[in-house]
C-alpha cells in the first residue's frame, strides 16, 4: 500500500492562511490503513485547525468528509457539491489522490495535507517499512522474494557490500537489516543458493522513470 504521513501542522496552517471555508477530505484506502488520512485523521486535523483558528481569533468553517478512493474520479464525484462550496480543499489522500482531485475539479484549489512517502507494508501497529520502488521490472523471483533495489541502501544487485555486519546495514545498523543477508537466508531456506553464483547484469532502468511518467493501457478492458 501507499504509506504517507501528515505534514507538520504549521505548514498546513500556512497553506490555508486567509481561508474562511475549507473542506478536509480523507481517503478510506491506503492512507486510512496507515493511519494518516482516514476518517479519524480527518476529524483530528479538522479539530486541530479549529483550535488553532480559535486561538488566533480567525474565522474558519471546516467541512469534513472521507471518500472511498480519491485516486478514482467516480468516488470523488460524491463530494463535488462540497468542493464547489469551499475556498480550499485540503486533501488527506496520497499524491495520486490530490492530483486526481485537482484534475477532476479544475477550478478548485486543492492542497495536500500529507507527505506521500513510499510503497510498503505494516510491520506492527504503528510501524511501516518500504518494500517496493516501482522499478517496472520485478526481480523478486531471482532474489528469493526480497528486493535488493528497495531494501539494500545501496541498491546493489550483486551483494553484499563490505558494510554488512551481524545482519545489519552500515548505513543505519539500528534500523536497517542487510538486504543481502536476508536474501542469502531466504535463498538458503528455499534451496536456491545457487542463484547467488550468477552475476546479475546492470539493471535496465528503461521501464522505470527514465522515460517520464509511465502509463499502462489495457485495450482488452477499455470501454
Amino acid at each position: 500500500m501507499i504509506v504517507a504521513e501528515r505534514k507538520p501542522l504549521p505548514e498546513i496552517i500556512e497553506s490555508i492562511a486567509g481561508v474562511k471555508k475549507l473542506l478536509v477530505v480523507g481517503c478510506n484506502t491506503c492512507v486510512a490503513v496507515c493511519l494518516a488520512g482516514g476518517e479519524r485523521e480527518v476529524a483530528l486535523l479538522s479539530s486541530a485547525l479549529r483550535i488553532a483558528a480559535n486561538k488566533d481569533g480567525r474565522e474558519l468553517d471546516i467541512l469534513e468528509c472521507c471518500i472511498e478512493r480519491q485516486c478514482e474520479q467516480e468516488y470523488n464525484r460524491e463530494v463535488a457539491a462540497e468542493v464547489a462550496d469551499v475556498e480550499v480543499v485540503l486533501s488527506m489522500a496520497c499524491g495520486v489522490g490530490v492530483q486526481t482531485m485537482a484534475q477532476q475539479f479544475p477550478n478548485a484549489i486543492i492542497y495536500p495535507a500529507l507527505n506521500t512517502t513510499f510503497m510498503g507494508q505494516p510491520d506492527e501497529l504503528g510501524s511501516w517499512s518500504e518494500r517496493c520502488l516501482g522499478c517496472g521490472n520485478c526481480v523478486l523471483a531471482q532474489f528469493g522474494g526480497i528486493c535488493p533495489i528497495t531494501r539494500c541502501a545501496k541498491n546493489l544487485l550483486n551483494g553484499p557490500c563490505g558494510g554488512s555486519a551481524d545482519g545489519r546495514c552500515e548505513v543505519d545498523p539500528e534500523h536497517l537489516e542487510c538486504a543481502w543477508q536476508l536474501i542469502y537466508d531466504r535463498l538458503k531456506a528455499i534451496g536456491q543458493l545457487d542463484r547467488l553464483m550468477e552475476i546479475t547484469p546492470a539493471k535496465d532502468w528503461s521501464p522505470s522513470r527514465h522515460g517520464g511518467p509511465r502509463q499502462i493501457v489495457r485495450e482488452d478492458v477499455q470501454a
Binding site: L9, R50, K55
Partner: protein
C-alpha cells in the same frame, strides 16, 4: 470575555468512584469544570481530548487507573500514548502541552482528585506558556 472552562475525563472504575465519594461528602465540582465519565481510560480517544479543547477548554485532565490495575489490562498505557500524541499536536498548534494532564489513580484517591482539580490550570495559562518555553 469568555468564561474559563476546564474538562476532566476519567475511568468510571477509579476516577468515577472517587468522584462519587467526593460528592457524598457534599463537595461539588467547580462551575467551570465539566466531568466526563468513561467506561475505561482506553475509551478516551485523541479526538475526545481535542474536542474538549475545541469546545473552549483551557485545561484538560484525563484520569486512568494505576498501571497494572486496569480492568481492561492496558487502558492506562493506551491513554498515556494518546496523551503524548495530543500534547505533540497541541505543541504544533502553539498551546503548552501542560494544558493536558494525565494522572493515574485508585478509587480511594478522592482527596488527590480534589487537589488535582483545584490545581488544574494554575498558574494561569499565559504564565504556564512562559514556564514551558523557559523549560524548553
Amino acid at each position: 470575555m469568555q468564561a474559563r472552562k476546564r474538562v476532566v475525563m476519567g475511568c468510571a472504575r477509579s476516577a468515577g468512584v472517587a468522584m462519587q465519594n467526593l460528592r457524598a461528602t457534599g463537595w461539588s465540582l467547580p462551575d467551570d469544570v465539566e466531568w466526563v465519565e468513561m467506561p475505561c481510560a482506553s475509551a478516551i480517544a485523541e479526538l475526545h481530548m481535542m474536542r474538549a479543547f475545541e469546545s473552549g477548554a483551557e485545561n484538560v485532565l484525563v484520569l486512568s487507573c494505576h498501571h497494572g490495575a486496569c480492568r481492561s489490562l492496558e487502558g492506562d498505557e493506551r491513554l498515556a500514548r494518546r496523551v503524548t500524541a495530543v500534547q505533540a499536536l497541541l505543541t504544533e498548534i502553539g498551546i503548552a502541552p501542560s494544558a493536558l494532564v494525565h494522572q493515574r489513580m485508585a478509587p480511594n484517591m478522592a482527596s488527590d482528585l480534589r487537589t488535582w482539580i483545584a490545581s488544574l490550570g494554575a498558574p494561569q495559562p499565559c504564565l504556564a506558556h512562559e514556564q514551558d518555553a523557559g523549560e524548553a
